[in-house]
Amino acid sequence: MTSRLRAVLRALEVAFASLVILGVVWVLVALAIDRPTTYDDIEEHFKYGSIGSEPGGSVLQTVGGVLPPYWIFKSLPSICSDKLPRGYETFGFITEPGKDLPIGVSRRRRLGGDQVGLNCAVCHTSTVRDAPGAAPRIVLGMPAHRLDLQGFVQFVLDCTLDSRLTPDAIRGRLPDRGGPSLFERALLRLGLVDRLKITVLNLRNRIAPALAAELPRWGRGRVDTFNPYKSIQFNWDLSKLPPGELIGASDFPSIWNQKPREGMHLHWDGDNDSVDERNLSAALGAGVTPVTVDHDNLKRVRDWIWTLPPPKYPYAIDGALASRGEPVYQKLCTNCHGDHRFRDGVITGSQIGRVVPLTEIGTDPYRLNSYTVAFAANQYSLYPDSEYRFSHFRKTNGYANHPLDGIWLRAPYLHNGSVPTLRDLLEPPERRPKVFYRGYDVFDQANVGFVSDGPEAQGYSRYDTSLPGNGNGGHVYGATLPEEDKRAIVEYLKTF
């Protein structure tokens, strides 16, 4: 061997070793990066910021997250276009002009790639329109009454597992410029899709009983808060729960004006009296885990909704009628619900924020029964070994009295959203609508609520009050008042 050849070989060796070292460093750095897309403006942060619900841990064993990586998420609607004719908007997602992702979907670089997650806005932002032809007005913090979360989750799971979702199909849909990084392309080649399918299959198997066809659908504007949680966090075998426990769909709430709510019994059944713990629990529902949660970003949202004012009723109010309604309301409703001053933090009524036993309130029992003593016991170990560990959850025996700030935007009413308008709620149960439609955003000023029937509304979720969990009985307060008083109360409620 000549010395020259030896020198070349030595140089090659060094070059090769350097490349390997560089490669390892590159992989380690790429995997270690955890960087959310950030927004200085708090409203933008609320709509698009990350609370840490994107998957973390390691590529081989991801922790948390329900959505696939960014580039796959973007390609799902086109790969499974037969299941999703109008993209994610089919499920009631709101996409603002010029935005890359819908409201409620965040982006974060984790595990070497761009990931997406859900944030608070997905369930707590929606739109209102004055008339069928009018432009939608986006309202932050209101219940996402248009969102079909169950349909969305099912679509993402099904399409991720669809045989048409292949690395080639994803690559074919990448943009020419600004596509994924070299590292992500490498992951795509190295079995990312297969691992994703295994993770998603596991997730789908876990939550399938809660999404089963024989259960009433959540429909637009509702979510089964705790059943998917039982399987995702604790790996309970949902198929072995007692009959009925798997029916727990209830309305999304508004999340404005949280400060005066601290210490009140929150959630529909009043199972928690800490705003912060309730927030962290809701974050679990969006896909965070105790190890992937972004406490700083969540706190920004928390501080903002602490004092976020409820939107004022934008249409005309008959002042004289509202004034006539006020004393009737004060006599009949204030004790449990407070009055119009709650929006300014004034708490009236001795029973506000307390739980009324089911035997007294008489509304549908399913949501209450889906939250069990055993479940609360398990929750106490969430966020373990930290200042955030859950300790405020309690099993209750009824539903909580909630303050009514911004109530005009919180239709349909009752915990399960079984009564479309405030005016309907003041009727005895047998005279409330038996079947109506949820998810149409045109406002009904006469009855206060959204238009819930007619050709346009019928394009959305059909709500049948005869299904289990959908009962519209109970809460008969005010049902025997004269028509004049009912109209007056409704008018007064517009000032909340």
Partner: protein
């Protein structure tokens, strides 16, 4: 230069020494170092969550304990984690009732008294349960809890990869901790649980204890007392632990096998795994009174001495119960009334006639051994003995001690006043909805079957015969007597 070269080997040695020292310190820190057990200010919380020294020997590393129900849900009777075994939780406490958490190297989970001596009661299915510390844990499957852990360890998926993967969903452990769990703590825990399985094998040949019962002494008898393995069945109802200082409480356990409350408490801790050196340390603290430095067992003892039996929480017909008081005085008070001349004494088997398995499970040989167990220690036992019958306990909080008789073979007081052949032959134990009409817990029906374990009186040790006192009373007298028993 010579100085430099001559010290070179020692330098390497120093580095090695330092590394070994650091590794040893880490190993000590994570495997042996014991932090003071968490202090609970209230005596009740100490009873429910405090340590009685069972963590060092039998304690399960907390993170493993936390994830086992999530990794192996199929070994639990139904969804619900440990709660599905009737293990209770309350007030947002991190640990369930009856399980203590102490750091010995790593945080570990042990058992305490409340595991078997705290009850849950609901008025109806939709009701929020009321927790009664000190009451028999009629809903808890203590044997099921142990066997769940054993089943997990026996499963080939009990591997570092699986368990660390699940732990990673809850907490970020440091790299060193992960290595320690992977190579020492997880395999070590598995081995310890498999040893527990070996000890449990002879017991698996007997009928399961089921909810609210335990065979407390046989496991101790065959292990630390070194008695030959026999076929006796020691399963008995968990007992109420209240008012234990009252005059008639002169002996403890169903057959009165010990005559000292302090020994009954300390030996119960031994039965659950408290170590000799922990008992030594606790005995040293016996007379201390400063908060956080008292003897744990003494706090427990004083708590259960002073604890009052809970009042019956449902309506009572005062007129009827007054009539029942007369019947009680004539038919029951001699053995069960305050100041009755037999109250608190052992009634010979020939007289009471209830199932004798539990009596036969404890022998004078075992008693002698237990009395010798603490030789040369401050807490040495001397009150163990063999008796010839079952204790006539003073009746208090009786409504909450269902099912009845020492083996819990009769679901309600109504059934107990029937002749044995008319008592239920098959029922479910462990459901916490109360039945005020029959005075006991609901023991049949879909919900009771889902929540509990079946009890079959034809199984060995489960006989429901004997104690036929009162069965010949008229129906009216029985109704009145039942009403009066609610007031006790």
């Amino acid at each position: 230069m010579t100085w430099f070269t001559s010290t070179r080997p020692p330098r390497v040695a120093i580095v090695v020494l330092l590394l070994v020292a650091a590794a040893s310190f880490f190993a000590y820190h994570r495997l042996l170092r014991e932090e003071p057990a968490p202090y609970f200010e209230s005596a009740e919380d100490h009873f429910l969550y405090g340590s009685i020294g069972t963590e060092a020997d039998r304690g399960l590393p907390y993170w493993i304990w936390l994830v086992l129900p999530r990794v192996f849900p199929e070994y639990l009777p139904r969804p619900g984690g440990y709660a599905s075994l009737g293990v209770l939780a309350r007030d947002g406490q991190e640990m369930p009732i009856g399980l203590s958490k102490v750091t010995i190297g790593v945080p570990r989970v042990g058992i305490n008294c409340a595991m078997c001596h705290t009850a849950s009661v609901r008025a109806s299915r939709g009701d929020v349960p009321v927790i009664y510390p000190g009451a028999p844990a009629h809903q808890t499957g203590a044997q099921e809890y142990k066997r769940f852990l054993i089943a997990c360890a026996a499963d080939p998926r009990f591997t570092a990869g699986t368990i660390l993967g699940e732990i990673a969903k809850n907490v970020r452990l440091s790299l060193l901790d992960r290595l320690l769990y992977r190579f020492a703590i997880i395999p070590g825990t598995r081995r310890a649980l498999l040893r527990l399985r070996d000890d449990d094998v002879p017991l698996t040949r007997r009928p399961d204890s089921g909810r609210g019962r335990a065979d407390v002494f046989n496991p101790v008898k065959f292990t630390i007392l070194g008695q030959p393995i026999d076929e006796t069945i020691g399963s008995a109802d968990m007992m109420p632990t209240w008012n234990l200082a009252r005059a008639e409480r002169t002996s403890f356990h169903w057959d009165g096998l010990n005559t000292s409350l302090r020994e009954a408490v300390a030996s119960s801790a031994v039965n659950e795994g408290a170590t000799v050196w922990w008992l030594d340390r606790d005995a040293v603290k016996w007379d201390r009174t400063e908060a956080g430095r008292q003897s744990s067992l003494r706090r427990v003892m004083e708590y259960i001495s002073a604890l009052k039996p809970p009042k019956y929480p449902f309506p009572i017909d005062a007129k009827l119960s007054a009539a029942g008081a007369v019947t009680f005085a004539s038919a029951c008070a001699r053995c069960h009334g305050a100041g009755g001349n037999q109250t608190g004494s052992v009634i010979p088997f020939d007289e009471v006639g209830t199932d004798r398995s539990r009596l036969d499970a404890w022998t004078s040989g075992a008693a002698d051994k237990y009395n010798a167990y603490g030789d040369r220690h401050d807490w040495k036992f001397s009150g163990f003995r063999e008796t010839n019958g079952y204790l006539a306990a003073p009746l208090e909080g009786t409504w909450l001690t269902a099912p009845y008789l020492h083996n819990g073979s009769v679901p309600t007081l109504t059934d107990l006043l029937e002749p044995p052949e008319s008592r239920p032959r098959r029922f479910w134990r462990g459901y916490d909805v109360y039945d005020p009409a029959r005075v006991g817990f609901e023991s049949a029906g879909e919900d009771a079957e889902r929540a509990g374990t079946v009890f079959d009186v034809t199984q060995p040790g489960n006989g429901n015969a004997g104690h036929t006192y009162g069965v010949t009373l008229t129906p009216g007298e029985k109704r009145a007597l039942l009403e009066y028993l609610k007031t006790l």
